[in-house]
Amino acid sequence: MIDLEHIHRDFQVGDQFVHALDDVTLHIDAGDYVSIMGPSGSGKSTLLNIIGLLDRPTGGTYRLNGRDVTDLSDAEQAHVRNREIGFVFQAFHLVPRLTAFENVELPLILAGMEPAERQERVREALEAMGLTARARHKPDQLSGGQRQRVAIARATVTRPNVILADEPTGNLDHTSGGEVVRTLEALNAQGIALIVVTHDPLVGERARRQLHMLDGRLHRDVSGHAPA
């Protein structure tokens, strides 16, 4: 599903180049469960952002579902993000003035879906996260775990093929973090590919496939672990 070939991402800082990604070649199957680990600054977020089409590589090609998406226009990339990819962020990134329902509705509004259909989809997504009772709550009326589940509902409401989660448990305590991980794994069990960047080895080791990064390179690629 995801094909990265010789991906480079250089940042220019002053007159120096930082090689955030240095010749990364990576294939990820549809429906896979992948964790990305590694020290701070090793390029985990950069890799995830390129997979999510939030960032463009400075070299290499990226194929998504067989289609070369490396040089798509801004509008085309936005469309792909909307249709194929769900994001879950460490900082949740819920719009504070909108209710849980309205936050989840956002990607469908951007997709140009009709209101009646939207309502149905949002209700389903919130129900799947066990948040039906919280639909009218604003983010500041929700716990951290609930906020992240709203964010997950938002990521899944468009029925994407892949969910990209950058340290989804980073702002959560152990209990609600575990809950969020199990929620994501449940989605993966339904066939959505899951890519999680994490610092927490306990979280990372649950993945079927574990990638370790070092200095912008894929350092280790461990497969075969069954989720515990």
Binding site: L54, L106, I109, A111, T158
Partner: protein, 404 residues
């Protein structure tokens, strides 16, 4: 673009309501700008209508003959001053009655003199006129009669007085039939003007009218201040004017030494001046709209940087640059349209207030001003939001989302 404009409007409206203080301030700035345009143009238009109304009341078929030739032949302050190279006479005025295009002629003299009766006295404007003068000025008589129909060169000792003169000189006493002293002569009061009549530059309450020949004696002059000629109709104005000029040229040994102002020309001049004034005042008020536009730009820039994470998120969720631009512009458009509408209401309210306080001034904003105020407001709002919108559209989503 997949985003529906209706959804964009709802989202933008929510964003505006999310920051009530900022939104309120912007609305106020826009509203004040629009209200200023509405009220100021209403004042200009009101002044124009007031003057036009006054002139119409005076009769637009009027020709004013002034001794002395003005260069332009039009209306200018120096012609109104009536500098005299060759005098107009009562005989000149009589000659002007002999045309089918002329309905009435009134020779005029004006001066100031002391008026007294029974020990009370005061300085008053004295007008020397004829019987026709009342009809030409469209004034009304309160009591008695106006100057009698008589040969114009007969100095009959009668006077018609204004309401205030009657009150202040005669007090509780009967004025009609009394002998009023003007200068060193005495005149019998035959009529009192009704106080209702209004006229530009003349206070009907505060004058005394005597026959023109009497005024010539009183002021010791053989000449006239001017001659009023009323044309028979609007169409008769031009031929009447030609007739007046030719007649007087003939009578003055072939010298064209008079100026004829048509009431029409004066009116047109005032109309033009006041119309231009309305545009100017409207334009000045529109500057406040531009200021409001700049304010909107600043506020939208702040809004964009304040909502960086939100914009980054929208991009992650599938908003293209174009959609972000549309969202920001929708926000600005809603803001300025709402502000403009509020300003419209405020301005119309102000107009109502002015009409109540100054009933003589028909303060009403012309339609062009209403439409352009709203148009300019919305346009500046949008125009000044292009920069913030582009900035938002160009935000790097990775940086936008990583900033806490």
């Amino acid at each position: 673009m997949r985003l529906h404009s209706r959804d964009a409007a709802v989202f933008a409206w929510g964003a505006l309501r999310g920051y009530p203080a900022r939104t309120g301030l912007m609305l106020l700035a826009m509203a004040i700008g629009v209200a200023a345009v509405v009220v100021l143009t209403a004042l200009g238009e009101g002044a124009r209508r007031y003057v036009v109304g006054e002139f119409s009341a005076l009769g637009t078929n009027l020709l004013i003959v002034i001794p002395g030739r003005s260069e332009t032949g039009g209306f200018s302050p120096s012609t109104l001053m009536g500098e005299t190279p060759r005098d107009l006479t009562i005989a000149d005025a009589e000659a002007l009655t002999r045309s089918v295009n002329v309905r009435r002629v009134a020779p005029l003299n004006v001066g100031q003199s002391e008026v007294s009766w029974g020990g009370r006295s005061r300085e008053v404007v004295i007008i020397g006129a004829t019987h026709e003068y009342l009809a030409i000025r469209k004034w009304k008589l309160g009591q008695g009669q106006f100057l009698p129909v008589a040969k114009w060169d007969r100095a009959i000792p009668v006077a018609v007085i204004g309401g205030r003169i009657r009150r202040e000189i005669f007090g509780p006493h009967r004025a009609l039939g009394e002998w009023l002293r003007i200068g060193d002569r005495r005149y019998r009061v035959v009529g009192i003007l009704a106080s209702k009549g209004r006229s530009i530059g003349v206070d009907v309450e505060d004058l005394v009218i005597i026959p023109v020949a009497s005024a010539q004696q009183l002021f010791n002059t053989p000449s006239l201040f001017r001659i009023l000629v009323e044309a028979r109709s609007r169409e008769a104005i031009a031929p009447a004017k030609r007739f007046v000029i030719e007649t007087l040229q003939r009578r003055h040994q072939g010298v064209k030494d008079v100026t004829v102002i048509t009431q029409d020309a004066v009116l047109a001049t005032f109309d033009k001046i006041l119309g231009a004034l309305t545009y100017a005042v409207g334009g000045i008020a529109a500057i406040s709209l531009a200021v409001a536009g700049i304010l909107i730009m600043n506020v939208m820039l702040v809004a964009v940087s304040q909502r960086t994470a939100e914009i980054g998120l929208l991009k992650a969720l599938g908003a293209s640059r174009q959609e972000i631009t549309v969202l920001i512009l929708t926000e600005a458009g809603l803001l300025s349209a709402t502000g403009a509408l509020g300003g419209l209401l405020l301005g119309l309210l102000g107009n109502g207030l002015i009409r109540r306080v100054l009933p003589v001034l028909p303060a009403q904003t012309p339609l062009w001003a209403l439409l352009s105020a709203i148009g300019v407001a919305v346009l500046t709002g949008l125009l000044f939001s292009i920069l913030p919108a582009r900035r938002a559209a160009r935000l790097d989503p990775v940086l936008a989302l990583s900033r806490r």
